[in-house]
Symmetry: C2
Subunit: 202 residues, 2 copies
């Protein structure tokens, strides 16, 4: 038994290397879409909140989620929560929300593969022997969904996207365009955040 | 004269719709890579800091940048600065940094196309007549690089990626794995951020 949710070839081109986590994210995304009964997002209507962070491994899941769902970072549909967990909440305003997480037993079992010995020595995924990468990736493909994923409906989850505006103005210092939300005032004139000398955007 | 930096077909599958901005980001990414003399990033060594934010249009650029550079959000190589500007800084620890921004004159000229009249009425890109989308996208393809982009070498730009650790532990409340950086303590026991009741991860 092999999962039908295997990423298309271009997903590996996008991601840059073969590893087990991009495909895990892809599968998570496909299953969450099925759970919520949503199609791949063409525009700006489906949101994913990966509960991952920075400075830890296995974040590659998020690239698989982008590929599966179309809820991309570029369309401002994906934003990490910085919780350092292997989970994500999927939210569609008309269909509700569901959280998928990786089960600890699955993570422990997967962690026994040689791939992780290389990674813990600092070997980058593209430098690991392809047979070692294929071994763990294929093993994951063969495990049933309920061995990988805990699923929690989140009926109370809500999210209000930031109000959208096309308004923009020229920074009076650098002469570049700035969208209105990020304009600041200095000596009575509109400036961008870097030219303002004030703190970051939010 | 047409730019040679036109996204591959799969980039449009990834992004979900045709619009001028994904291709602009792709082209920006390709040019920045050439400027810095870096290859598409397979693993985790090339960083992009888009100076965009949220609640404004034209963020689709970032998907094109992900596609071109391999500096993806899933690999934690891309992070917005929340400045609301149409620009990005590209940084390779061994090759230096460069900032590319869109020139206001180009933005103004592009803004005259019918595509933007639809967008300002709230019509999603996938719902705009394909000929209208093609008109502006093809026009952009035909403009020279120096009409689109301002280029600034950033010799003083530095960035230190967060220290990486594989350490993780089980949250004593929910039983899920948490990477060490995001573990908190509550009543002397390790917990994840949501179970802690404390504030967000950072």
């Amino acid at each position: 038994m092999k999962t039908p949710h295997i990423p298309p070839e271009w997903a590996f081109d996008f991601h840059g290397h073969l590893c087990p986590f991009m495909p895990i994210g892809y599968r998570m995304g496909k299953l969450a879409m099925k759970f919520l009964n949503v199609e791949r997002e063409k525009d700006h209507g489906f949101f994913v909140f990966p509960q991952l962070g920075e400075g830890h491994p296995q974040t590659c899941m998020m690239d698989g989620i982008q590929v599966a769902t179309g809820a991309t970072y570029g369309k401002v549909l994906m934003e990490k929560t910085f919780y350092g967990k292997l989970a994500a909440t999927f939210y569609h305003p008309k269909k509700g929300a569901v959280r998928y997480s990786l089960k600890p037993e699955f993570i422990d079992e997967m962690g026994k593969f040689e791939f992780f010995a290389y990674r813990k020595c600092g070997v980058e995924p593209s430098e690991i022997p392809p047979s070692v990468v294929a071994e763990v990736t294929n093993w994951v493909y063969e495990q049933p969904d309920d061995y990988l994923f805990k699923i929690e409906a989140r009926p109370d989850f809500t999210f209000t996207p930031p109000k959208h505006s096309f308004n923009k103005a020229i920074c009076s210092v650098c002469g570049e365009y700035v969208f209105e939300r990020y304009l600041r005032l200095k000596d009575g004139k509109p400036v961008c955040i870097p030219c303002s000398g004030y703190n970051k955007g939010r």
